[in-house]
Each structure stands twice: as C-alpha cells, then as structure tokens.
C-alpha cells in the first residue's frame, strides 16, 4: 500500500533506524512498510499515526 511515511519521516529528519526505534520494530520493517511491500497491522498503523500526529487515512493512500 502506498503511503506518506518517507515524506513525514524526512520532515522530521528521522532515519529509518530512528523511526524503527520509536516504533520498536526492525529497520527492515520500516523499509518494507515505506516501500509498500508490507502492510502494517491496524495496531502498528495507529502507532505510526500517533507518532506522526496524524490519521491513518492521511498516512496511507487507499487505492481501492
């Protein structure tokens, strides 16, 4: 699923490793989500939204 993670992360000057540490996941997980190869679960999506102070709808682009 396409998303705005890379943009939001860049705005905060966070590396993938920084974001991974904040999410308590591996850097590979952040990379997989960011590149749209892996869709996070709802709890992780909410965690991401809270971290970026936004909504899930704003983070992920629904192409359905």
């Amino acid at each position: 699923m396409k998303n705005r993670l890379r943009v939001l992360r860049a705005e905060r000057n966070w590396s993938q490793a920084d974001l991974a540490q904040r999410l308590e996941v591996s850097r590979q997980s952040v990379n997989a989500i960011e590149t749209g190869k892996f869709d996070p679960s709802l709890p992780l999506a909410f965690k991401l939204a809270r971290l970026f102070e936004t909504t899930i709808e704003d983070l992920f682009i629904d192409e359905g």
Binding site: E24, S26, Q28, S29, I33, K37, F38, S41
Partner: protein
C-alpha cells in the same frame, strides 16, 4: 530462518534452540552407543529410540514459542513464510519420494531425514523470501 539475534525474542529463540540441540547430541550419543553394545529389545528399545527425538520435538516447540513472542510483525511474517516454505518443501519431497519408493522401487529414504531436509528447505525459503523484500 534467523541468522542473528536482534531482539529479545530472537535471543531467547537462539538460547532455547541451542539447549535443545545440545540435548539432542547428549541423548543421541549414549543411545547409539547403547544400541551398538547392548542391542536392547522390547520396551527398552522403544524408549531409548524415542529419547533423541524428544529434543527435536522441543526444537519445534521453541519455534512456536518464538513466533508467539516475536513482536516485530514484519519479521514474524518473514519467518512464517520461510517456515511454510520448509513445510511445503519437505511435504512435497516425502510425497513424491514415497510414491517413487512404492511404484518405481526408488531407494528408501529414512524418515528421520525429514527433519534435516525440512531445515534445508527453510534455508532456501528464507533466501527467497528475503530477496522478495530486499
């Protein structure tokens, strides 16, 4: 499957797996020695023969515990895919080989080879899965 531990669940997995492997060796060596020198029969033979299999069963439990404890859902997803590849691979091999043995008189494949072969397929599957997410 895993190559190195990067979180507490993986460290616990490696520790438990190492203990189970050591138990396997510790059980297997005296059992082989016992069968070679004393040729036990009956119930004793059954009990001794099963002993080295218990750590193998424990290894499977250790894998299950790891999957239950791994908090990184992406990593857990990779491991599950790799394990499914291993299960699928070994099921395919024993199914095909079983029929080859029955109908084409292929050489007998010992059942205990299923476990090491399972890990061979897990290894292949891990490489394929990792390439997909690279």
């Amino acid at each position: 499957m895993l190559c190195k531990a990067t979180n507490p669940a993986q460290r616990r997995f490696f520790a438990r797996f190492t203990v189970a492997m050591l138990a396997y060796v510790l059980f297997l060596l005296p059992v082989v020695w016992g069968f070679v020198h004393f040729r036990p029969t009956g119930v004793l033979a059954y009990v001794l023969a099963v002993l080295p299999a218990l750590p193998i069963v424990a290894m499977l439990v250790v894998i299950g515990l790891y999957l239950a404890e791994e908090k990184d859902e992406f990593v857990r997803n990779l491991q599950i895919q790799a394990l499914l590849g291993g299960i699928g691979g070994i099921l395919a091999v024993v199914s095909v080989w079983g029929l080859l043995e029955d109908f084409a008189h292929a050489p007998r494949l010992d059942l205990f080879m299923a476990y090491p072969l399972f890990w061979v397929f897990v290894g292949i599957s891990t490489a394929v899965v990792r390439m997909r997410y690279r």
